[in-house]
């Protein structure tokens, strides 16, 4: 297994800049997710690491060796695609063993490694069955087995769960992460689904317009988004972003939201722009009759244990996540208060998070 280092990587297609200037390190054995909307450059980055695309500039170091301009076949990495294709005329054993057959691995070793791989994926009881009769999940496991059996330096996966329906996807998310815990192979995983990223990743790189906006652990990215884009992209529903105008100074512990005083984490810097945005996660909003920040309940969405309540305020719609047993009626006027120590502040125009006691070092890639 290997560490992957990407330095000053850039890719242009004619006028279009797909990847602007990426530098990051994926530690040996870690599960690294590149997350972003379509067209953000995540798949292009992955394809450059795989050797399916040549960079315009920059380096890709696999275990210290620059492979940026080496063909895919010389990189010793395995790629799992979104649509997994199996050889329909071969049984499970021969499908998994196929990459070894191509490499000319001796028969006895092939047999042993295929069986070991099948055990790891818990499909050893299916080895002699034809793949055509397999259930969707087992087919996906066979496709994974074919990648694992080679013992490559790294796995690259491009939305491998994208086409599955919700329930089955949740099952596979759990399985992929558990498989990673067992074999600890360096994995680079591309997705636009934030839940997949949050559930599986050791580290997430959030990309937008060819730039990594933030790189960090899932919890860090969720709790301390470095930019407005990240704040808005992560979380379901997303962070409430409440625009306001004002001036803040280092050391301040509260802001003035049109007459309502809202406490925030102690500021470590002042603002350059006067247009600001207060960021509050739905679970950091509570109902409080005494609050001067008021709104009208627009609708509720029941989710079993919890519910999402949407409130119309003079600053726009705000969503709160509260336990399902709290009764809320559409049209009712409510006061809202915030958990002060969990809030974020952003400058609206450049999207940057202001440094506070919570956002000590808002890292930007």
């Amino acid at each position: 297994m290997a560490e992957i280092r990407v330095e000053k990587l850039r890719k242009t297609f004619g006028e279009f800049v797909a990847v602007r200037n990426s530098t990051f390190t994926i530690p040996d054995g870690s599960f690294f997710v590149m997350l972003g909307p379509s067209g953000c450059g995540k798949t292009t980055t992955l394809r450059m690491v795989a050797g399916l695309e040549l960079p315009s500039e920059g380096q890709i170091l696999l275990d210290g060796e620059d492979v940026a301009f080496k063909p895919a076949s010389e990189r010793d990495i395995a790629f799992v695609f979104q649509l997994f294709a199996l050889y329909p005329h071969m049984n499970v054993r021969r499908n998994i063993g196929f990459p070894l057959l191509c490499q000319g691995t001796p028969r006895a070793e092939t047999r042993a490694r295929v069986e070991e791989t099948a055990k790891l994926l818990r499909i050893d009881h299916l080895l002699d069955l034809p793949v055509s009769g397999l259930a969707g999940g087992d087919r996906q496991r066979v496709a994974l087995g074919r990648a694992i059996v080679r013992r490559p330096k790294a796995f690259l996966m491009d939305e491998p769960l994208g086409t599955l329906d919700t329930e089955f996807r949740e099952l596979m998310i759990g399985e992929l992460r558990q498989l990673h815990n067992r074999i600890r192979a360096t994995t680079v995983y591309v997705t636009h689904d934030q839940l997949e990223a949050m559930s599986m990743a050791d580290h997430i790189a959030v990309m937008n317009h060819g730039v990594i906006e933030q790189l960090g652990t899932p919890q860090e990215i969720y709790d301390r988004p470095a930019t407005l884009f990240v704040a808005d992209f992560i979380g379901s529903p997303a962070m409430n972003l409440i625009p306001f105008t004002g001036q803040v100074t280092p050391g301040a512990k509260a802001i003035d939201l049109n007459g309502a005083k809202v406490s925030v984490p102690e500021l470590a810097e002042g603002n350059c722009e006067s247009e600001l945005v207060l960021g509050a996660r739905p679970e950091h909003i509570t109902f409080d009759d005494r609050s001067r920040f008021r709104g009208e309940v627009f609708g509720t969405e029941y989710l079993g244990t919890m519910q999402i309540v949407t409130i119309k305020t003079q600053h726009g719609q705000v969503k709160a996540r509260v336990p399902a047993h709290v009764t809320m009626k559409a049209g009712e006027t409510v006061g809202l208060s915030f958990m002060g120590d969990r809030l974020s502040l952003f400058e609206r125009k450049n999207g940057r998070a202001l440094k506070t006691a919570l956002h000590r070092e808002a890292t930007r890639g």
Partner: protein, 336 residues
């Protein structure tokens, strides 16, 4: 608007029974979601109501009239498909007006203008009316597709996973939007989905469907809190309900006739304890909430836990059940 009644509806394709004696009444102005996995018979049911398929047995009644023998055009239903298809060479306005300009309808152009503007406002696409359909984002296109159905004032709306091709964020926005529009219009909607969140947040009632059979019908809260079978219990709730053999958490005092105990987050009390009955396996950080995975007697349970708690992997915990759900050997609910 009108009510829909399906009476003993069956449809077979060769050996496969896609819809199996399905009976349900959808009152005027109600939003009903059929929830089930791929291949459960949801879409076939919808196509039977629309007249795109003929039933082998049973009747479809719309507004009290038996329409089983009528073609799709004569049924006065509007269908929103999973994949929106707009006329790329037409403006948004003309796309929305298209169904009204059909020679079969003969709506006056002034009337068309007012209806299109009203629908566009409702869907918040008024500022895009002059744009070409191809200049829209995915979410806007799907809103136009829904709008094209709304301008017609049909008797009922049939929707086949209309949000599933959109990204998560837009889906969330349109869920609330669609519910609001349905409420404002008093529309009767039969909606098909495999997404439990869509079903729970939008429907007045959910029909859980499996292998062509309607297993249970009820409000989202009824289905979630009071599932009649294990299958239904597993359809709603994230993380999925924990199913344990009766002996595991009941300390050997398993009640008679009970084979399985179903426990959701709200049925479990978990606290740190020196010699507890469970061990924390791992904690999955999902940002807003954490999933706590606990091992108990060779079984695994997963619950929601607050992001701020003091549990670590390897910690010993005491797990207690609080009014869980009980099921017999057949997977049917047993009341206690």
């Amino acid at each position: 608007m009108a009510e829909i009644s399906l009476r003993g509806l069956s449809k077979r394709f060769g050996e496969v029974t896609a819809v199996d004696e399905l009976t349900i009444d959808i009152p005027d102005g109600e939003f009903v979601a059929l929830l089930g996995p791929t291949g459960a018979g949801k879409t076939t049911t919808l196509r039977l109501v629309a007249g795109l398929e003929r039933a082998d047995e049973g009747q479809v009644l719309i507004g009290g009239h038996d329409v089983s023998a009528l073609g799709p055009a004569a049924r006065d239903v509007a269908f929103v498909f999973q994949q929106y298809s707009l006329y790329p060479h037409l403006s948004v306005f003309d796309n929305l007006a298209f169904p009204l300009r059909s020679p079969a309808r003969r709506v006056a152009e002034s009337e068309i203008g007012s209806r299109v503007n009203k629908v566009a406002e409702m869907l918040r696409i008024s500022h895009k009316l002059a744009s070409r359909a191809t200049q829209l984002s995915g979410g806007e296109m799907q809103r136009v597709a829904i709008g094209r159905v709304l301008v017609r004032y049909p008797a009922v709306y049939l929707m086949d996973e209309p949000l599933s091709s959109l990204d998560a964020k837009l889906r969330g926005e349109l869920r609330l939007e669609l519910k609001r529009i349905q409420h404002d219009l008093g529309a009767t909607i039969l909606y098909v989905t495999h997404d439990q969140i869509e079903a729970m947040t939008m429907a007045n009632r959910i029909g859980v469907i499996n292998r062509g059979k309607l297993i249970q019908v009820g409000s989202p809260r009824q289905i979630y809190e009071n599932p009649q079978t294990i299958y239904v219990a597993q359809r709603l709730g994230q993380p999925q309900i924990n199913l344990l053999p009766a002996g595991v958490l009941l300390n050997g005092s398993s009640p008679r006739g009970i084979a399985t105990v179903g426990a959701r987050t709200e049925h479990l009390k978990i606290r740190k304890a020196k010699s507890g009955n469970g061990i924390v396996d791992w904690i999955e950080h999902l940002g807003d909430q954490n999933h706590l995975h606990v091992k108990v007697g060779g079984h695994k349970i997963t619950t929601l836990s607050s992001p701020v708690n003091d549990l670590r992997p390897g910690d010993s915990v005491a797990i207690e059940l609080d009014k869980p759900l009980y099921f017999d050997t057949q997977g049917n609910r047993v009341e206690r």
